[in-house]
Symmetry: C2
Subunit: 384 residues, 2 copies
């Protein structure tokens, strides 16, 4: 169906799934994932505005929220398309956009089958870094009489995936231009190694800029002009205009932000839209209060690029941290505070990493103040 | 409905949900959660046999598998009832057993409402450590004309929840005997602090034994005879007979085991039934191979109580570890091996902590050898 119809259908589905309630947070079973809609909307607007100002295409990574409804919000604010990590995300997000980037190589027959079964109107692009990923993709796409776009992934410092050598990258780009079934669209990289405080990113940004310039020079020398130079990640997103030649950014976390984003100064604490509502269930062990949100509600991830301790902190008392966790227990550290919560009190915890916390919840409650306005399913949670 | 009927119904449901396929693992989209059924069955039998031998009631913690079908397998092997951590687990597991222990205080009206809405034939017991948790429970149970059993939780070294002082615990036990709506059943504790190698647990076990003896003496002096003294946790489960007075153990992990269990010698590597099937998607960065299973498939948890590094290891090459992860990427460390996997190769990864990995998957594939025999949903995954 045409894109406008699909977007309308997605909106209708989301409206049906989220009948508004006037209830307060007190009625919720804990732990519960809660998003402050005012903060989220401001976060969406801030990034959209930044991208517009610098003429960068904004292709939000939907792994953070995993919700076609929120993806549609991003599209309505001018996103050029969506980024996904997995194929079930691609399928679900095709309800919100007809331009999907799978930022993960679709390796193996089961994935190629799913990829090519995406709705016919969906423009698909994939990222990959090897001939071993490219050639079977081209064969499968050709056999399915479908064209799949390709971004060649570079390693510009992250050390995870991607081709480090510009000439090697140019070779793979050229191969893309020669194979049936695929269309070479450009290059991408993930600057996830830039996670210092925003005030201390200058050197890393300059190095990144130099590496991008070098890659583009090498490609140009090989007569390869990438239509897309795709970067992004929330920690350095607002510095994207300082990197030469970028056409696109792919931040995900910015919609909600989290304790990591705040710790490195890429947002303020009041920009954190997501928290986990929890109930104090025990104060029997001195020096701590135990809540019913543990690693199965918050996830377990230490802060990187920051000296902040703990696995999360209270939304309204960021000095109170989650010092320890087991699956169903979070231990609030009360060593340096006079605050003494009681059994039955409720708190809201901002986790260190929001993407992995959201993924633990069936649904998210959207609130304004203490009032629940709506809820939505974390539709692309888990695996197919 | 009577218990036998409910068990039959649960079996019928699970059979419908898991139509057998003759496919091989190669057909699966990765990452995928895989359980070797032969190993799992041996694990179940080993713990059931241990409990029988030592006349301990076995009340498996279902947080590990979150599957009523597997809970029914545990019941068929002689489990006395089931342990759960959350109320949606209680509701789902009531299909497999009519005797449920909620090992987590149901604090707050939303939880009490759910608790008392459990099927009428389900015998409910809850663990708690405070008057603030006990009194509202008793009032709600009384108002609902339903009796809820109570185990008073002690802290015997874990430092998480529970009453450390035996006289204080006795006071709360006595209060249980005096309130309408609740029935005092005994005491419980979680010896989760015992996570040294099984060969080095003697001192901790002796200390625990001494503390349990002291608590039972104090209770006896107060004329309080607990019908239930409930302990357990997989790392020290097979030493439970060395703790005086125990009547019940509540291990969870033992059904699958994991890298932690193997690291501390509480199982062998070949007793690890659970792994995450993953595909190599990149070998571009030297010294590593990148698979499509990251922290959203394996979870992120460092090993505790062991010097083993990494977040997981290959089932058939336990020397190859997952040295790093992001959400959708796992980095296999190839620094100390000549093994060079290719893009497209598949591996099976045993995570450090199985309970939190299972919880990330919609379903689990049960295999014998390479042949898929069945699958089942991780029904109690997430939150209601």
């Amino acid at each position: 169906m045409p894109f406008a119809d699909r977007q309308q259908a997605a909106t209708a589905v989301s409206a049906a799934a989220t009948a508004a309630t006037a209830a307060s947070l007190d009625t919720l079973l804990t732990p519960a994932a809660v998003v402050d809609l005012d903060v989220m909307e401001a976060n969406l607007e801030r990034m959209a505005s930044y991208a517009r100002t610098h003429a960068l295409a904004l292709r939000p990574h939907t792994k953070t929220h995993k919700s076609p409804m929120l993806a549609a919000e991003q599209m309505r604010r001018g996103a050029s398309g969506l980024t996904v990590a997995q194929l079930h995300e691609a399928r679900l997000m095709s309800a919100a956009s007809d331009d999907i980037l799978l930022a993960h190589p679709p390796v193996g027959a089961p994935k190629l089958t799913r990829l090519l079964a995406l709705p016919a109107g969906t423009r698909i692009t994939v990222a990959l870094d090897s001939r071993a990923a490219l050639e079977p993709l081209a064969r499968a796409a050709n056999a399915a009489a479908r064209e799949v776009g390709v971004l060649v992934e570079l390693d510009l410092g992250m050390g995870r995936v991607g081709i480090a050598d510009a000439a090697d990258a140019a070779d793979l780009c050229r191969l893309c231009t020669q194979l049936e079934g695929v269309r070479w669209r450009g290059i991408m990289f993930y600057p996830g190694h830039i996670r210092a405080h925003v005030d201390e990113q200058d050197e890393a940004l300059e190095q990144l800029d130099a590496r991008v310039r070098h890659v583009l020079d090498v490609l140009d020398g090989a007569n390869l002009q990438p239509a897309v130079v795709s970067a992004g990640s929330t920690p350095a997103a607002f510095a994207s205009h300082r990197i030469h030649g970028l056409t696109e950014i792919r931040p995900g976390t910015y919609i909600f932000n989290d304790r990591t984003t705040a710790a490195i100064g890429a947002c303020t604490w009041s920009d954190c839209a997501y928290s986990v509502l929890a109930t104090v269930i025990s104060t029997a062990v001195s020096g701590q209060a135990v809540v019913d949100a543990g690693s199965k509600a918050l996830f377990r991830e230490e802060l990187r690029g920051s000296s902040w301790a703990g696995f999360g902190a209270l939304l309204d008392r960021p000095d109170i941290t989650v010092k320890g966790m087991s699956e169903e227990h979070g231990l609030l550290d009360l060593a340096d505070t006079d605050w003494r919560p009681k059994v039955g009190d409720r708190v809201r915890i901002v986790p260190n990493h929001v993407c992995v916390s959201v993924n633990l919840h069936e649904k998210v409650w959207g609130v304004r103040g203490e009032r629940i306005e709506r809820s939505w399913p974390v539709a692309a949670r888990g695996w197919e």
